[in-house]
Point group: C2
Chain length 307, copies 2
Amino acid sequence: MSKLVIVGTVAFDAIETPFGKTDKILGGAATYIGLAASQFNADGAIVSVVGGDFPEEYIAMLKNNELDVTGLEVIKEGKTFFWSGKYHNDMNSRDTLATELNVLENFNPKVPENYKDAEVVMLGNLHPLVQLSVIEQMDAPKLIVLDTMNFWMDNALPELKQAIAKVDVITINDEEARQLTGEYSLVVAAQKIMEMGPKYVVIKKGEHGALLFQGEDVFFAPALPLEAVFDPTGAGDTFAGGFTGYLAKTGDYSFENMKNAIIYGSALASFCVEKFGTERLEGLSKKEVHKRLKQFQSLTQFDIALT
Amino acid sequence: MSKLVIVGTVAFDAIETPFGKTDKILGGAATYIGLAASQFNADGAIVSVVGGDFPEEYIAMLKNNELDVTGLEVIKEGKTFFWSGKYHNDMNSRDTLATELNVLENFNPKVPENYKDAEVVMLGNLHPLVQLSVIEQMDAPKLIVLDTMNFWMDNALPELKQAIAKVDVITINDEEARQLTGEYSLVVAAQKIMEMGPKYVVIKKGEHGALLFQGEDVFFAPALPLEAVFDPTGAGDTFAGGFTGYLAKTGDYSFENMKNAIIYGSALASFCVEKFGTERLEGLSKKEVHKRLKQFQSLTQFDIALT
């Protein structure tokens, strides 16, 4: 059991999908990552910032999920980061209706003293300078995972490349991998990203699953085919939380074990999309997860004898 | 080892991709299906029609691949079916430049006497009435597989539904499954198609792999991630040929064995797209196929102990 540092937003989201809409509910990358990682009883700490408007009950819920929140700064006079979006009918694309940075604008992350020796660091989507600051605060992590998005490629590419150069794993979606490298083929794009620094590249393809690359090796995990996707918000972060939570729990950072971590991440993400926001992840039982992992096994495992 | 009847076009194709273009080359669904099935030394017979312009050497090549061609009618005074298409840069969409039905217009398929007792029938994409005529000529096949496309949904839906009602397996791509059922979710679409007759539904998603459904069970095979797709023509038919060829060879039509068949189909399709037309499939060695199957294993197999 290794310690896990989770950096990312803790936020309010307002979401509209073809199935309905929400008022301001709990959201944010670090929230989803933390809830997913908590499935492994990983010793995880959230490093983030919220405003005085952030409900005590949300913080209590994170604590109940055995997440350390001493690195979750509360700026009493500030307001919590807010995002609002509307998904199109196919659920694969969305419009951002509002983004209010608020306390995130001057976020200065502070890793708690007793987590500076953590083996695993999960850098959720944030300004690359914030991600770099966290890397600098760590003693000697064995695995640093970075998630990012096209926004930083458009607005902070030099800083993003600096951060990418310092991490072991990057998680990125297919369109972003193409934008970052100018390559259409995901195989070629992954090779180019590895040349930027990371030893492992995870390319997330949403409903089409996820690819893990290391050198010439590739592993693929499908998304679970679902009758309906209710709300995709947080699925990528839940995937990242399952991935890093499993690795922190097992302390085995080999490619072979990362295959399992990818499957755990995919399984947890398949729960996330079943309800609005974090609702499905809160109180998710180990029994439910176990059952879903068996579904992934029967979905992907075959028996051709090859010698 | 069971007999396999393969019905479909044997044709000329002229193909343009971002990598180059061809003159009239050998094409057609039955050609690709036959070449793929020949990997298993299945006792396969092609039922199709060509014109007097069809080169002897192509027929000789099919024979060399141990395919029976007594059901391949040659209409001396007629011309062979011709299709011409141009792929877009992303290789996922294409424009049809020309379709000349020629001898296909009045195609009256004749299953050779000694193949009427075949256990497996692969009905390649053709007018559903032609597919129905073949079904009627068979004694008591154990597995009938039907491939089709949106053209027949637009132009011969009642006949298509008649054919679908009489088969065990349908292979169809994702957009066509949605068109046929009016359902966006492929899980729901597959359920609706099973209600139309087939016990098994295979949904082909191109570069995103293929799904196999039976009742509540699902299996997924990814496409092999490739550095470049040179020419996608025939990939779906190659997949179908690998699928049925493997099933005919093993004589095991269970869901568990269909998983293996789907993997074989995907592996063979991954060769097809590496060169123009049938070039890569002709003379493909068992050693190459074996190596690729191992790639599929390492791409998809993981080791989470679940009890």
